[in-house]
Symmetry: C2
Subunit: 384 residues, 2 copies
């Protein structure tokens, strides 16, 4: 019996359910991808009962049988979806009829659905099934990574590091001139560095949605991706979080660099972030909480006089889980729960001051008994 | 008054609502992106009332104010989310409290939500608001593209064409040898062609999730993306559907090519698909239905003796809308509704036979009064 069916069996019996139903496309709903390993841009249904059954369109059935891990692949055509579409006014009502028959065929009476289950379909099934809305157990399961998952994340992190090297190399090769950095005769822009990062990632089978290469005022906003010429003598935050197109697992890494002359104040800020990150990484271990790790990081900042105030200072949490989603559980924050062996989390303190810009450093670590393994090999060098 | 607020006003008054609430991340929930033009990987709430208000995390507030079209950007910190997280056992319950206060502050009593609204939040709000679950009007609005949207799609289609040219050029430059195509001394693989497509798309600011380069038995499965050496003397289906990273709009195009000697039967199949596509494109105009266009395509196949049977022949619909999603409304299929001026749809008939493999041709057109504009410039050449 696989781990997945053991867990499912326990969850169903704990909640007195015959099955747990998920609905969505597996590009966006990663719980569905996790349980089926079937990547599809269009919505499909997944029933976790004695085994995993998926209900896909007839066009996807062949591919689903080949590619998915599901024990059973059923098609909406098996439930006469075309006839039902002709009978019902709204396509969604036809789909609900198909779902009902699919569930009844599998003897499902007591049904669990996750909190993000679509309300219309819920209402359509309510009369015929005894439905409980429950926290999805899958997001819990996803927190503890298997060896294969850690390998997949590591491989994304290697691609991430290579792209980071390309970016830092580009910035190193500029000449500070006035307020800008000159590269091959022109001011180096965020866009140019991001494009080099994208090409490097693609060569390693990865893609990145929102790479951050932010200097100047941009760097003081932790989510601003950055545009235009990069500044001389001022920190540039580079945050790369690629996903492998093959494995679908993310990695995440941030470095902050400065080309030119550094103001002593920003050097002190960098040192504080580095020390806070070290303290955070040292605190990560199975059994501690994300809240405690976050507190250790905050402590370093407070000791050094960097207090969060009015959107300045350390204005975000210490870290988040990384896996099939770039932000997943567990979190290293004020509400962070107990860490378990096999969690993969970022440790990414930062300090942000609109006048001095921002500094952030981020590594990716695996939680272990008594400590953590850092999946990040790349050095941290501030002044280039 | 903008078109968006006019439409919203009409929808709310038609349904006697004070507001319509959407919840999700705008990478996956394109209705939210459409109304806010704020791209965020983490969930946020959007209320369409007299204007558009969005409720984001404090970390996203600065960026949202800069980047989004929303009339108002509010942060969960404005509703003390941290205090609520400490008070409630489940983060979702704290979030529901924040949402309640956000809605009450805006005098919302009668609330509309779309069918895909998450059931847990729906249940959390049910006691305090009079909620109606309604078909989202936004997906309807999104069907008719503005001039700017059509330009964005066109620009993605130009990138798509360039990538298609690169792929076809690569296949042209092979030497058929036995069952394979030899390129630079080695059998040319799907992976190699896809990689060249990806690089070409990236150079034009586009990305593609699941490019299809499928030959041999792979080509007979319309959704199989293809792996391994490409066959000589046999059709290769190339289907590219990139999204612009900037505008977020998709394009979509398919060509089928054959390098080497073609069996007369497959040439006839190609001719039938080409003729069916011509008939489909000729049938597209404002006022006709997607069902009628699909029927015209089926007619050509039937006249030529290609009848769908047991998963062989023309096993999918004629086309689908393209915009912020790769598959959106309207559809050209048995359930296709009336087409309107400004709809953007694919016309993509195909024939699939496991022994002979598959052929598909796909253009992207804008529905006009009395006809359509084809956004696809690339020629159709079968035998290379």
């Amino acid at each position: 019996m696989s781990l997945s069916s053991q867990r499912t069996g326990r969850f169903l019996s704990d909640h007195e359910l015959d099955g747990f139903l998920l609905l969505g496309d597996s590009l966006c709903n990663l719980d569905i991808y996790y349980l089926s390993r079937f990547l599809a841009p269009d919505r499909f249904a997944l029933l976790a009962a004695s085994s995993i059954s998926i209900l896909v369109s007839s066009m996807e059935q062949g591919r689903a049988k080949k590619e998915s891990d599901a024990g059973e692949v059923v098609s909406t055509s098996d439930y006469d979806v075309m006839a039902k579409l002709a009978r019902f006014n709204r396509p969604e009502d036809a789909y609900i009829e198909v779902l009902k028959e699919f569930l009844q065929d599998r003897n499902i009476k007591r049904l669990g659905v996750p909190g993000d289950f679509p309300v219309r379909v819920y209402q359509g099934l309510e009369a015929d099934f005894d439905i409980s809305v429950l926290d999805s157990p899958v997001s819990e399961w996803r927190k503890v990574k298997t060896i294969e998952e850690i390998e997949a994340i590591k491989s994304s992190q290697r691609a991430c590091e290579e792209a980071m090297r390309v970016a830092i190399e580009m910035i190193s090769n500029t000449r500070p001139s006035g307020e800008f950095l000159i590269f091959e005769g022109e001011p180096l822009t965020s866009e140019k560095v991001k494009s080099a990062i994208d090409v490097s990632l693609l060569e390693r089978g990865c893609e990145a949605q929102d790479t951050i290469v932010a200097g100047g005022a941009n760097a003081a906003d932790p989510h601003c991706s950055g545009t235009g010429p990069l500044p001389a003598n001022s920190p540039i935050v580079i945050d790369i979080f690629p996903r492998s197109k093959g494995s679908r697992y993310f990695a995440d890494m941030t470095r902050t660099v400065l080309r030119g002359e550094a103001d002593p104040e920003i050097v002190e800020i960098y040192q504080a972030v580095l020390e806070a990150q070290d303290a955070g990484i040292a605190a990560v271990r199975a059994g501690t909480t994300g809240k405690e790790v976050h507190a250790k990081v905050c402590e370093v900042f407070e000791e050094r006089g960097y207090v969060e105030r009015e959107g300045r200072g350390f204005i975000h949490s210490t870290g988040h889980g990384v896996g099939l989603e770039i932000h997943e559980m567990p979190s290293l924050s004020e509400v962070g729960k107990t860490l378990e062996e096999g969690n993969v989390v970022t440790v990414e303190p930062g300090l942000y001051y609109p006048n001095l810009n921002g500094v952030r450093l981020e590594d990716l670590v695996v939680v272990r008994k008594g400590g953590c393994d850092n999946l990040t090999n790349l050095e941290k060098r501030f002044i280039l």
